[in-house]
């Protein structure tokens, strides 16, 4: 390699010095504008996902790079993009989470938060962050937990038990439809599950932001729910509720078998999706027969609340 001449060396030297100055300024700037508590040390929070332990301190850069634009540097859901987003980004300072395996009102498990990051949240701007390593996601879970004091005072709830799914039958679909009417699900989700029930326009979340009920009829085979896509996920949503929204928990209202019947009926509202429920309905002629409770008088659908094939 030819040696650099003196003039070239001086040019390089001047700019290396200035680069160093620039670096000092960047580093000095780095500290105050990141993290949940700008002038306080980051809490030594951990998360535990299987054999992986996440550390909040290791997620500082990733949170800033990927999350802060929406959720905000303070985790309060007021990132610079929040004003443009609908639904609004989650406010981590109140530690209320939609997607949990734990009973309503309780904190989610670390695994719940880990799953939400990797799954994304459909019908929102929350992407599917499955490009992270397990360590990155675990670190971010720990970091999210630093935003609310609830994580220091409370333990996460115990995951609910999900019993084995019974077979799909036209009777279970019929019973599910009756429950859909009886529990007044149609008031929000609409008689055909299109999210256009009479109460839909009035719904707000716990921060008084307008919120839309889920439209079961939208999407095809790739249709997903906010908290998953399997029948087990739908069951879980009934039983845990979606905290921070008008969707309550039905854990104290219906029995596990009833919840499964409701799952089977809801799948038939996804008219553009191939499913075993739709196959059973098609085999039955495409019409859901009225439910007949052998132990009690049959439940008659409310006027205008018919679903499925009516």
């Amino acid at each position: 390699m030819n040696t650099l001449k003196a003039a070239q060396f001086r040019v390089v030297f001047v700019h290396v010095v200035l680069a160093a100055l620039c670096t000092v300024r960047v580093v000095a700037q780095d500290a105050p504008d990141v993290g949940p508590h700008p002038h306080q040390p980051l809490k030594p929070m951990e998360s535990h996902i299987g054999h992986v332990t996440g550390h909040a301190k290791d997620a500082k850069t990733d949170y800033r790079r990927y999350c802060a634009g929406c959720h905000g540097d303070q985790g309060d859901g007021n990132g610079e993009n929040a004003v443009w987003l609908d639904p609004k980004p989650r406010d981590f300072t109140i530690a209320t989470f939609k997607c949990r395996s734990t009973p309503t009102g309780t904190l989610p498990t670390d695994q719940d938060l880990f799953n939400t990051i990797g799954r994304g949240v459909t019908n929102s701007n929350m992407p599917i962050w499955n490009t992270f390593t397990d360590h990155q996601r675990a670190n971010l879970v720990a970091y999210i937990k630093t935003f609310s004091p609830r994580w220091e005072k409370e333990k996460a709830g115990d995951p609910i038990n999900i019993p084995a799914e019974p077979p799909v039958t036209i009777e279970s679909i019929s019973h599910g439809k009756a429950l859909f009417t009886k529990l007044e699900c149609w008031k929000c989700h609409g008689p055909e599950g299109k999210g256009d029930g009479p109460s839909a326009a009035t719904l707000t979340d716990s921060k008084d932001q307008p919120i839309r009920p889920y439209n079961f009829a939208s999407g095809g085979d790739d249709a997903r729910f906010k908290c998953g896509s399997t029948n087990q996920d739908v069951y879980r949503i009934f039983m845990t509720g979606v905290d921070g929204t008008p969707m309550p928990s039905f854990a104290d209202t219906i029995q596990p078998n009833d919840a499964w019947d409701l799952v089977h009926f809801l799948r038939t509202l996804q008219v553009h999706r191939h499913s075993k429920e739709n196959d059973v309905l098609k085999a039955a002629g495409g019409t859901i027969p009225p439910y007949v409770d052998k132990a009690a008088p049959s439940i008659q659908p409310a006027s205008g609340a018919a679903g499925g094939g009516n």
Partner: protein
């Protein structure tokens, strides 16, 4: 010699000439003192994500950004179709870089006082401008995406850098994506997204390397090509495969070369988690094709598009992207290249004047002693991401001829050494615009290619620029 003196900077102090860039940096430091984090705005505006979500340091993609691109510029979160956008949204980004630079070349041909030709060093400083990229891209409909990039050089002369439509997730499968048009070849180490910008270090030498005296009209891995590409990837983008077929026109429109000359490019890569180190990716690529060596002529002038006598060429190698923790990543790229002996003897490109028009392969007799020129090369590029706003980078690149087209050539004729280092600082980080202060130095040497004495040709560049897009 007169030209060299004409560009000499006045003043006695050797430091004096550097006061201007120094002042610029200091002004910049003061102006940015109260600002905080980053940008590629057309998509960032659409999805409400900071540029840093997709870019290690823009324009270089990170893993999430690569997945977004592989999904056809879609997040796959049900907000991809244009119907979700405000009607006033226009998916357009403009990028340009005003800069100050110092360019120096050790040996340029000059007239001497005695009427002969000599060589001298030429060093030039001054303010300059890059070309303009008008980047438009996004979804025409869910799973039908486009990219259109009208691009100008620094004089404002436009061409289409990219123009393609892509059908994504056909049959609901991420393994079935097809695009047609002009596009970048599917190397996950992308020259279009390199962080380096300077005159002697802005591009990857291996993406454009042609042996000295070679007449192949193609072989340009770094130029966007006209063709069709199938690309498939796993749901989380860990596994990526692609195959493309394109005309051997080096991306030029109107089929100016062969009558039936095509090239294929295959690429595959696999990513895997490495615990706290991050996600690593390794892969390989192979490009092989044919290009013409003889043309029909009219009044002695070759007729564009009449090329026959296809001869072969190939490029293949390994590429890897390794993360050594959250702040440090290393890109490694290798290549073994080979051109047919006809190209080595400078048969092929008589259309644009690279080769003597007399080199029109009408006899089918190879010049005596001609053989396939072959070479090996590699580069290692390192990025130290201090934080999402500040990145320090370097690249070291080497190309070595392993066989010259003629045994009489010096064995190292055309060998290249290239070194680049610099830093890139984004004084703010939003989803609305990108702005980076860019400071870079590069040094390049090619063996035996000075214009008069055929000795080593070296050049170096220093640049300070404001790279911005919005």
């Amino acid at each position: 010699m007169r030209m060299g003196m004409q560009f000499r900077v006045r003043g006695n102090s050797p430091w004096g000439r550097h006061l201007l860039p120094a002042a610029l940096i200091l002004v910049f430091l003061v102006l940015s003192a109260s600002q905080n984090a980053n940008a590629l705005p057309a998509f960032a505006r659409k999805y409400g994500l900071r540029c840093s979500a997709c870019h290690e340091s823009w324009p270089m993609l990170n893993y999430f950004g690569q997945k977004f691109k592989d999904n056809g510029y879609q997040l796959m979160n049900d907000h991809d179709a244009p119907i979700w956008q405000n009607a006033s949204y226009w998916p357009i980004t403009l990028r340009i870089t005003p800069f100050w630079s110092r360019e120096s070349t050790n040996k340029i041909a000059v007239d001497t006082a005695g009427g002969g030709t000599g060589e001298t060093r030429l060093t030039t400083t001054g303010f300059n401008l890059s070309g303009l990229d008008i980047l438009t891209g996004g979804t025409l409909e869910k799973n039908i995406t486009f990219l259109l990039v009208p691009s100008s050089d620094e004089t404002g002369a436009f061409h289409f850098e990219s123009a393609n439509v892509r059908f994504d997730n056909l049959l609901h499968s991420p393994w079935l994506n097809v695009k047609m048009g002009k596009f970048e070849l599917d190397s996950f180490i992308s020259e279009k997204r390199t962080l380096t910008l300077s005159g002697n270090g802005g591009g990857y030498q291996l993406f454009h390397f042609i042996p000295v005296g070679d007449g192949n009209i193609f072989g340009q891995l770094g130029d966007n090509q006209l063709g069709v590409e199938w690309m498939g990837h796993s749901y989380n983008d860990r596994t990526r495969l692609s195959a493309a077929v394109f005309s051997s026109t080096d991306g030029n429109v109107d089929l100016p070369y062969g009558q039936n000359s095509y090239t294929a490019f295959l690429a595959g890569s696999q990513a895997f988690g490495a615990g706290k180190l991050g996600v690593q990716r390794i892969g390989g690529y192979a490009m092989f094709g044919v290009a013409p060596t003889t043309y029909l002529t009219s009044a002695g002038v070759p007729i564009p598009g009449s090329g026959l006598g296809n001869q072969s060429f190939s490029r293949y190698g390994f590429e890897g992207l390794f993360y050594l923790g959250p702040k440090l990543d290393v890109q490694v790229f290798t290549q073994h290249g080979s051109d047919n002996a006809w190209f080595g003897a400078c048969y092929g490109d008589i259309i644009s004047g690279t080769c003597d028009p007399a080199n029109n392969n009408t006899t089918g007799i190879l010049p005596a002693g001609a053989r396939n020129p072959t070479w090996n090369g590699a580069f290692v590029e390192t990025h130290f991401v201090w934080n999402p706003q500040f990145t320090i980078f370097q690249r070291s690149e080497w190309v070595r001829m392993s066989q010259q087209a003629f045994a009489t050539n010096p064995s190292n004729l055309g060998d290249i050494d290239n070194y680049v280092f610099g830093y890139r600082y984004n004084p703010f980080m939003t989803s609305r615009a990108g702005f980076a202060f860019h400071n870079e130095y590069s040094w390049l040497r090619q063996r035996g290619t000075s214009p008069v004495t055929a000795t080593d040709l070296t050049g170096n560049s220093l640049m300070l620029g404001f790279d911005f897009d919005f």
